[in-house]
């Protein structure tokens, strides 16, 4: 049964990691390389996430990506359309993707305005030749491969992490709050995606056949312990505890949470005290990846 949430709210949030391996293994027409299999547990997780999101009325996807790295403020895509070829500089043999996406420019400017009103440095990105980062593209593709919704892509502002993880976290908390206010003000029904892995130490070599799953495992047991600890916090509705431990998690597991996406998401969702749905966990070239969802409506119904 489809639900029709009132406008001006975040209707769902998801931790939606962006390993290009997942798109590669899906063999979508937009991606040039071909695979025979790979990382099914994660891809099935995305499948279940997509099925749940199909029940929602969503106007726009807002994605916060670790692979659009900025230092001087947070930048936001702010032109109506971007198209081109995205080639992953790390895994170009796996990801060469032809993208064509629409942007909700009004919402983008609202996020910029709300962020600035909160004292943050935000910049609209208005260069038409700009190449959209592959993290945003992969998370959006895996969540909504039909590309029938406009998106707003938000950069990962790394500057404040230079002063310590706690300082960076606080910036992302304020950015999440600003994002929520922008959604409410513009009347959008928004899906928010945090496009990051959990633990993030890669192998520096790969098998001759990238999708050879006999070689896929976590890089280090300590990473796995950390990943499970954070996942369990989120599954138990302990998102504030997860935030409290995030600085140590970042250092201890070399976590991609350092880019702030998950903290931004949790903040925008108001630090959920209800359980997150775990759709899947798996490793990709040694990194730990979880697909998780937050559904405020389900939490209210409970």
């Amino acid at each position: 049964m489809s639900t029709a949430p009132a406008p001006g709210q975040i209707v769902a949030g998801a931790l939606a990691p962006h390993p290009p391996h997942l798109v590669y293994a899906e063999n979508p027409p937009q991606n040039e390389p071909r695979a025979e299999c790979g990382w099914e547990v994660l891809r099935w997780g995305y499948e279940r996430l997509r099925a749940d999101l199909q029940k929602k009325q969503i106007d726009v996807i807002i994605v916060h990506s670790p692979h659009w790295k900025t230092t001087q403020g947070t930048h936001v895509l702010a032109l109506p359309q971007f198209q081109g070829l995205s080639v992953d500089p790390i895994f170009p043999h796996l990801f060469r993707y032809q993208y064509d996406l629409r942007v909700d420019v009004e919402l983008a400017h609202a996020i910029v305005a709300e962020g600035r009103a909160a004292g943050l440095e935000l910049q609209p990105m208005e260069n038409p030749k700009f190449r959209v980062d592959y993290g945003s593209i992969i998370s959006c593709h895996m969540t909504r491969p039909t590309w029938d919704l406009p998106i707003v892509a938000i950069s990962s502002n790394r500057a404040h992490f230079d002063f310590g993880n706690e300082v960076g976290e606080q910036l992302q908390v304020r950015l999440g709050e600003a994002t929520r206010r922008a959604v409410e003000r513009t009347g959008r029904r928004a899906l928010l995606l945090a496009s990051n892995s959990l633990s993030h130490r890669h192998f520096t070599v790969e098998p001759a056949l990238p999708e050879d799953m006999t070689h896929e495992h976590i890089y280090h047991h300590g990473q796995y312990l950390w990943d499970m600890r954070m996942i369990n916090h989120l599954r138990a509705g302990r998102s504030r505890q997860a935030l409290a431990e995030m600085p140590d998690f970042i250092d201890g597991a070399i976590s991609e949470c350092k880019d702030g996406s998950l903290t931004w998401l949790l903040s925008a969702l108001g630090f959920p005290a209800y359980p997150a749905e775990l759709y899947g966990y798996g490793t990709v070239i040694g990194t730990g990846n979880a697909i998780m969802g937050w559904d405020p409506a389900r939490a209210e119904a409970r």
């Binding site: 500089p89 895994f91 260069n127 700009f130 192998f203 890089y219 998690f249």
Partner: protein, 505 residues
């Protein structure tokens, strides 16, 4: 009459350059005085390059990150339009230039022979980083000069980066070409969190600025290898761009020496980052002594066996079981790789606090402390036994209980130097070593290896060595003697000892 001798062509590095990676000198050269200086510095570097008429420009940019080993651009003519992810408002960079693919393939071969994982990338639209493009466009705006472009592996530390530089040098020497090598890296990379007007720009941290200027003094003396060996210290003190690994690469590619005529063509801030254009022209008459002696690495022996690490770590008693109805393996399936030795985990990864298992060291070793030896000055035991070996912490001459130093301290409380007797200190050190060994159930005769630290090699070696010989001549332990700048207490000599343990652990 003239005679000629046939010679094998030998390539050479004609010029080494350190170049900033910010887009401003290319896209807004008149945006502010600092950017103007950098653009002028680039122009001066270009003039040097033009005068040399080299065959090839090799670029290593810390802005091209790789993870799977080392990537090299092998598209013969990359063509695209690039927009910087941070400074997109400055405009776009259109590019199309020739890549020396045969040379690149030789670099890949040489890197592989040195134990690195390296491969070429030849994909339409592959993103070339801002720094590489800025350097290439400003040094060769007409795009006539062939280039080779090398990535910066994010996990590579000094050894791996130097070996990569050596692989490039191998290829240069065997190519017969006259080459310019360029590392594209800022010195310090602490940008202001908000944009500042370029007319009001400055290096964002005074400490960064002071360290940058110190480094540039050494560059100006042509001491490239000395700067390379200072990189770790620099990175510990300043917000170094990519740990200054660009300089590691540059020094190795250029031959790891100090024989250059150095010239700082520009130094200026860009949005708080410390940027410099430095030129180093080979000049044998400029050779200077090396400041330091970090190890010189040739072959990489890193964590390349990690893919099979899970198998290597699996308990030996746990048999692997096939599924009840195994599917037939595809005909093309590769045979299972033999598990290599278990890869050591990176030191940075740790287990979360409440579930951290005891470390291997804590499970299998025994700390040893004794009141018969001087109290430690930090949180460490006098020794630790692991299996049949005893590892001693550094031992000095201080006397247990009183902390008096036989032979006298080397300086007073205000740091003024004092006369001291290193022979007396050495005897006291050896006596303290003996006490610790005996507390652990061993004797001096069980010592296997000694590392000796002296604060003044010239002054003290002979006297220390005479005392050492009295005791150790019959023991036959291996020994290394190092000169260091200081010890934690006002002493002149310290011993680090490895010994055989006696009796059950």
């Amino acid at each position: 009459m003239t005679t000629s001798t046939a010679r094998t062509p030998t390539g050479s590095v004609e010029l080494a350059l350190l170049l900033p990676r910010m887009p401003h000198p290319l896209l807004c050269p008149d945006g502010g005085p600092g950017v103007r200086r950098l653009a002028d510095g680039y122009a001066a570097a270009r003039a040097q390059l033009d005068a040399l008429k080299p065959d090839l420009l090799v670029i290593y940019s810390v802005g091209w990150h790789s993870i799977l080993g080392h990537l090299l651009q092998s598209d013969p003519r990359p063509t695209w339009t690039h927009v910087d992810e941070e400074f997109h408002a400055l405009g776009a960079i259109d590019y199309s230039f020739p890549v020396d693919v045969p040379f690149t393939e030789v670099v890949i071969q040489r890197a592989t022979a040195r134990g690195l994982a390296a491969r070429g990338v030849n994909y339409r639209g592959f993103p070339i980083d801002t720094g590489t493009l800025v350097a290439k466009q400003l040094l060769d705006p007409s795009s006539q000069l062939p280039v080779a472009i090398v990535s910066c592996n994010v996990y590579a530390d000094r050894a791996e980066t130097i070996i990569l530089g050596k692989a490039v040098r191998d290829a240069i020497l065997s190519s017969g070409k006259r080459v310019v090598v360029a590392a594209v890296s800022n010195l310090t990379q602490r940008l202001f969190p908000r944009p500042v007007p370029l007319t009001e720009d400055r290096v964002s941290s005074r400490q960064d600025d002071e360290w940058n200027q110190k480094l540039l003094e050494i560059f100006a003396e042509g001491r490239l290898e000395d700067v390379s060996q200072l990189a770790r210290t620099f990175a510990a003190q300043a917000r170094a761009d990519a740990r200054l690994k660009g300089v590691w690469w540059l020094a190795a590619a250029a031959g790891a020496h100090n024989g250059y005529r150095g010239e700082v063509l520009a130094y200026a801030p860009v949005q708080g980052a410390g940027c410099a254009v430095v030129s180093l022209r080979p000049d044998a008459s400029a050779a200077a002594q090396l400041e330091f002696d970090e190890d010189d690495v040739d072959i990489f022996r890193g964590d390349r066996g990690v893919l099979a690490g899970g198998e290597a770590r699996a308990p030996a008693a746990a048999p692997t079981r096939a599924p009840p109805t195994p599917a037939p393996a595809p005909a093309s399936a590769a045979p299972a790789a033999a598990p290599p030795a278990a890869a050591a985990p990176p030191a940075a990864i740790s287990a979360p606090p409440s579930v951290a298992p005891p470390t291997a060291a804590a499970r299998s070793s025994t700390p040893i402390s004794t009141s018969a030896a001087p109290a430690p000055v930090g949180a460490y035991p006098h020794a630790r036994r692991v299996g049949d070996l005893l590892f001693l912490s550094g031992v000095g001459p201080r006397q247990p209980g009183t902390n008096q130093i036989p032979g006298g301290p080397v300086r007073d409380a205000e740091g003024r130097p004092l006369p001291y007797d290193v022979a007396a200190q050495t005897r006291a050190v050896i006596e303290n070593v003996r006490r610790i060994l005996e507390a652990a159930g061993s004797r001096l005769e069980d010592i296997l290896d000694v590392t000796v630290f002296l604060i003044d090699m010239d002054r003290d070696f002979a006297a220390y060595n005479a005392v050492y010989n009295e005791v150790f001549a019959s023991i036959g332990a291996t020994r290394t003697t190092l000169a260091i700048s200081a010890l934690p207490t006002p002493i002149a000599v310290e011993l680090k000892v490895l010994a055989a343990a006696r009796g059950p652990a």
